[in-house]
């Protein structure tokens, strides 16, 4: 069910996984993908929990890579779990030390489930350039979370500059319930929208993406306002009728749980619009494994970049040695 290997090698991990799969009678038959999680020691528990939730909908092989300190002897510790504490999935949690942290793919590549798509998820501040991380290069889909960056709005611009089709960001995933509500409000829409406003706590990347999305789809200007949060608190659409009449549709969510849907001349309605757990967000991300063009369009508008969808989906690894960089800096 579970075996821990100290100071081990990649091939021993492969053997241990095969043995555990046999012993566990292949509990997770029908693998849909391999999920590689790049995470720091302090966030491991949260990432594992989320991966477990997501794996319930998308049977996957979970490879958690924790890169520890560089200045130490090279070493690999691994924990192989099949149907154990991580639920009915097969998982390998790896801790890498020393120069091995710069070559994690040497351990991860032979562990990928044969011919299944690979999704790499960074649960932490996203890298500046995904191609410098070998675990990003081997993935078909790359999931970052700009909300965890020190400056999320700047991180969004970095993501746009570094974008390749197949990239997505959990800040975008968080917009889905909002976008779903807005789209259904639009199903019964008979007036054109002249402008819109999105309010959120300062520096919220999801608000920037909602604004980008509205602006991309409706070709309008979207004003951004600051509020006390949590997260996105209001989206308002200003409608302009043919005879100059004006209406407002607004969805506001001051408490992060319940939204109020209001339209001029109509009674207000309450509906649940909860902030979702990390696991639910990840599960949505794994639902589709092709490039998300709508995200690319919204990111373009949110950051003022262009031509994101026409970039190549392939990345080649860019080698950057922190030791050399440190030496050069001196």
């Amino acid at each position: 069910m579970s075996v821990t290997l100290w100071d081990t090698t990649g091939s021993e991990v492969v053997r241990a996984l095969a043995t555990e799969r046999r012993a566990g009678a292949m509990l997770a038959s029908g693998l849909a993908l391999t999920l590689v999680v790049c995470v720091d020691e302090k966030n491991v528990a949260a990432a594992e929990q989320a991966a477990m939730v997501a794996a319930q909908a998308h049977p996957c092989r979970l490879l958690v890579v924790i890169r520890r300190q560089l200045e130490t002897a090279d070493r690999l510790d691994a924990e192989v779990q099949v149907g154990g504490r991580l639920g009915p999935i097969e998982a390998v949690v790896m801790r890498m030390y020393g120069r091995l942290t710069l070559h994690p793919e040497s351990v991860v590549l032979p562990l990928l489930a044969p011919d299944c798509p690979v999704v790499t998820w960074w649960h932490g501040p996203p890298p500046e350039e995904l191609a410098t991380d070998p675990l990003g290069v081997l993935a078909d889909r790359r999931v970052t979370d700009t909300a965890l960056a020190p400056d999320p709005l700047r991180a969004l611009t970095v993501r746009a500059n570094d974008f390749a089709p197949g990239d997505t960001d959990l800040a975008w995933t968080r917009t889905t319930p909002w976008r779903s509500l807005l789209a259904s409000a639009f199903d019964a829409m008979d007036m054109p929208v002249s402008s819109a406003r999105v309010a959120a706590e300062p520096g919220n990347p999801s608000a920037a993406l909602i604004a980008g999305w509205l602006s991309a789809r409706l070709s309008i200007d979207v004003e951004r306002a600051d509020s006390a949060g949590p997260g996105v608190t209001e989206v308002a659409l200003f409608l302009q009728g043919a005879e100059g009449e004006q209406q407002v549709i607004s969805i506001s969510r001051p408490d992060g749980r319940l939204a109020t849907f209001a339209r001029s001349n109509q009674p207000e309605r309450q509906l649940p619009l909860s902030r979702r757990s990390l696991g639910d967000l990840l599960a949505e991300e794994l639902q589709r494994l092709d490039a998300d063009d709508v995200y690319a369009d919204s990111l373009e508008k949110a950051t003022g970049t262009t031509g994101l969808t026409s970039r190549s989906p392939r990345r080649s690894h860019i080698w950057r040695d922190p030791a050399l960089q440190a030496a050069a800096a001196e």
Binding site: P88, A183, S184, Q270, V294
Partner: protein
Amino acid sequence: MDARNLLRDPRDRRLPRVPDPCALVVFGVTGDLARKKLIPAVYDLGNRGLLPPGFVLLGFARRDWGDGDFEQLARRAAEQHARTEFRADVWQRLADSIRFVPGSFDEDDAFDQLDKTLIELEESHGIAGNAAFYLSIPPVAFPTVLKQLDRTRMADSRQRGGFRRVVVEKPFGHDLTSSRELNKLVDTVFTPADVFRIDHYLGKETVQNLLALRFANTLFEPVWNSNYVDSVQITMAEDVGIEGRAAFYDAAGAGRDVLQNHLLQLLALTAMEEPVSFDAESLRTEKHKVLKAVSLPSDLDDFTVRGQYEQGWLGGTRVCGYLDEEGIPAGSTTETYAAVRLGVETRRWAGVPFYLRTGKRLPRRVTEIAVVFKRAPHLPFAHTDTAELGNNQLVIRVQPDEGITLRFGSKVPGSAMEIRQVSMDFLYGAAFTESSPEAYERLLLDVLLGDKTLFPDHVEVEASWRVIDPLEEFWHGRRPERYRAGEWGPHGADEMLAREGRTWRRP
């Protein structure tokens, strides 16, 4: 959805389909089905954000209740039976739009009150006349309720603006004539396009996956015909008895209760040609073609079997016989088990028998479709080497353990060439099935969206009755064979397959 909605982009697969603001009116809302399936399904849809901002649930039943009592019942139902986690704030929002109207189906006043309440709710919730009426009631009450809906003009979409849809549960009549009458009545009160007949099997993921398996792959379709297929076995077994539905069940029996709808629908999906597209119309065309091509055996005595369970032991407890169940008349000849060999008279299936069986108080609850392939025409092995080799089988497990099993011959490790049958399993994973939408949730959503793909049409229902009617006529007045509760049906069923040199697969 409307192509003019700029916010909906076909590339945007994250946005779920959410119905327009609408009301769901449930008749018989205090019944078992409503409590165990419908109300939990509504809650789950709400929890997943799939209900429109303007949504009301209006219950109608003969109870001296106010809105509060009904809300209590609905809340308990959602707490106990919902698939997703129960959250008080989601419920609170739903509870605000739940109303109850008491009354019996023959009271004009009650229906006038219902109509009035519906109109009020539509105004207060910004619903542009959209309503779906769910008839979760015994079939005898259908005409009364439909006539009331007609009288109050609640069913008239032109008068109300928006859509007016009706959802009916099986049985759709008890024979061809009665089903036609029922269809005529429903179709005149509503329009045929607005009638949704629920066969909850079609809402199951695995059943939809059968279409994906057949038509999204190249591997299976080339052998999906009489050149390669020896026979098809479709099984729906239940371990439960009649569960307090004595009056209904004794009049219907396994043939009308299950064979006519679930099993024939599964047969149609298994045997049909590829639809030109995956829309309701094309799918119905293909299913209807197959149902029209279904033939009964010429010798009904040899190739149909009826059974009735006697007392026995099942799952470690003693259970009583059918005749001892409460409310079953002594000497009832109703069958609780039915098996039949059908043929499909098309080029693809000529000569391939389709064995259908269903029964109550069988050892376990299981529904599956087993496609049994022919033996290889020549085996270059010694006869003794292949003694344990059976037919290749592809089994679609509809419930439980949703998934697919492939059975084929493989060498036994060792120095001798011995070949034995092995199973390769594809599981949706125990956890996956838990979180995949419950059939009612999917079907209810489709009703509100107006998507009829997963609903059998009245032509299919009538075609099915055309298959079942001669059977029922032949069975009428005959005594069913006895089988012990906890057995895989009467011996006659085994003999029926043995006559053609086959055996039932043990599911």
